[in-house]
């Protein structure tokens, strides 16, 4: 029974937080503020918990098994927090510089291949001739848009955008706008899926619980009340 009670309580909390967060779409109110602060606090707590978990599992465990070099990492990790000290904050730059160097090295060595050369290879490998007319046209358009967009982002050679050549930039913008329209529609889809997820939770898990159908209107009325500006509320009087 105890486990059941825990589940029921979990659903109630989750449901209330869901409804309270949605209320911001209509107007700011105290319930939203409460939910929002819970969110921010929980997020910080959650990442702290997983930070500790990671330090323990990836650092402490090998250290206890004899990898004594990890003591240095712990020291560096603690030094990261000198950033909050008024005069010794610069010490945190040492561990940070290792992280930054790693990040740059890992990203640069792969970016030049994955996002530059491989993209060039893939574009240059498109066939315009020797395929059916529609594919040929599509590939030609594809190549034209890639070239035009890269051309568009050349900034310091103003000559290449002057006069009739300006048409290339215009074409590039057309291509990008078509792409943005597609992205826009996909974002709508993503957000709606998320709303569906929450409403599905409310309707299939919360509302069937005993008392939920009675509680829901009360929750909504309280929320609407909280949306009324304080000076217009009959109670409590603003201080």
């Amino acid at each position: 029974m105890a486990a059941d009670l825990a589940t029921v309580m979990q659903i109630w909390f989750a449901a209330l937080f869901t409804v309270w967060i949605y209320s911001i779409a209509f107007r700011d109110n105290v319930f939203f503020k409460f939910a929002e602060h819970t969110f921010v606090g929980a997020a910080a707590g959650h990442s702290l918990v997983y930070g500790i978990d990671n330090v323990k599992r990836y650092g402490w465990t090998p250290f206890t098994q004899g990898a004594s070099l990890y003591a240095v990492v712990f020291l560096l990790g603690v030094l990261l927090y000198t950033r909050y000290h008024k005069s010794y904050f610069w010490i945190s730059r040492y561990p940070l510089s290792i992280m930054v160097g790693l990040g740059i090295g890992l990203s640069m060595r792969a970016t030049v291949k994955a996002e530059f050369i491989d993209q060039i290879i893939s574009t240059a490998g498109l066939k315009v001739l020797g395929v059916d007319a529609w594919t040929g046209f599509s590939n030609l358009l594809f190549i034209a848009i890639v070239l035009a967009v890269v051309y568009y982002f050349v900034f310091t050679f103003p000559g290449i955008h002057g006069g009739r050549l300006g048409v290339i930039s215009k074409f590039a913008r057309y291509g990008m706008m078509a792409a943005f329209g597609y992205s826009f529609a996909n974002t709508v889809l993503s957000r709606f899926n998320m709303i569906f997820g929450r409403l599905d939770f409310l309707m299939t898990e919360w509302l069937p619980l005993p008392g939920a159908m009675i509680a829901m209107p009360i929750v909504l009325i309280l929320m609407v009340y909280a949306m009324i500006p304080a000076e217009n509320r009959p109670w409590p009087k603003p201080t």
């Binding site: 291949k113 498109l126 315009v128 190549i143 070239l147 900034f155 103003p158 943005f180 329209g181 826009f184």
Partner: protein
């Protein structure tokens, strides 16, 4: 020693290194000129219109920190803020800058003060009114900007920097109150929302170019110059590759794969 399949990439990386550092050095001697950025060209007119309508100009640099990965976007936004401050001082517009990062406030104040001094209008600069720290939390900041928009009804709204989910909210709110808008971000997911709503748009890399152009910093400008040459290399490789393939040769592609 050399790894098969990674040689061309290594060569390209070294070439880019030389190119970018070389153009930084060259820019110290002579700054290269920039192409027209249609978004920036619209700014004087936007500020002028706000003066005519006796309504303020609103500016935001979005979220992010000066120390994170999106810092370059924030820096670009601040460079544009400097320019808009100059324009506002010149035409006598009321400029309001909504701040998300408290660490940016002293920097922003300095930038804006210098702009007003440059235009000889320092007496018009009112940091209390013009620089508003709204909140350091995303949704609280978003709703505070919304509130500000509805109260002050700015005639122009300029958003340059790293924007997240609040982009659509801002764009729609200012659209509803009839502001002319210029927006730019390099955060790919948010560009479509700005493209849908805003009158003028700086797309992705354009904000860095705008920031560098306005700041006249040889390091930034030189870096952009180097990247431009890199883009031209890409253009040539793609163009020649397509032609060669049409003529039946895939030598270039094989070279790139080495």
């Amino acid at each position: 020693m050399l790894v098969e399949g990674r040689m061309f990439a290594l060569g390209m990386l070294i070439a880019l290194w030389v190119l970018i550092i070389g153009s930084m050095e060259m820019s110290k001697r002579k700054l290269p000129t920039f192409r027209k950025l249609s978004g920036l060209e619209a700014l004087p007119e936007m500020v002028g219109r706000a003066v005519e309508m006796r309504r303020p100009v609103h500016f935001t640099t979005g979220l992010g920190e000066l120390t994170g990965t999106v810092a370059p976007q924030l820096v670009a936004g601040l460079a544009v803020l400097g320019y808009v401050s100059e324009l506002s001082a010149k035409y006598g517009a009321r400029l309001i800058y909504s701040v998300y990062q408290s660490q940016v406030m002293p920097l922003a104040e300095q930038i804006m003060r210098e702009a007003y001094i440059k235009e000889g209008k320092i007496e018009q600069f009112d940091p209390e009114y013009q620089i508003r720290y709204l909140s350091g939390e995303q949704f609280a900041y978003a709703s505070a900007v919304q509130g500000l928009a509805e109260r002050e009804r700015p005639a122009a709204n300029i958003m340059i920097g790293p924007f997240y989910a609040e982009s659509m909210l801002f764009a729609e709110t200012f659209y509803r109150i009839g502001s002319i808008q210029l927006a730019g971000t390099a955060r790919g997911y948010q560009i479509p929302f700005f493209a849908v709503v805003c009158d003028y748009l700086l797309i992705a890399e354009e904000i860095y170019a705008a920031g560098a152009y306005l700041s006249k910093d040889p390091v930034q400008i030189g870096s952009i110059r180097g990247q431009d040459v890199g883009k031209m290399i890409a253009l040539v490789l793609m163009f020649v590759g397509v032609l060669a393939l049409a003529l039946g040769s895939s030598d270039l592609i094989n070279l790139l794969k080495r």
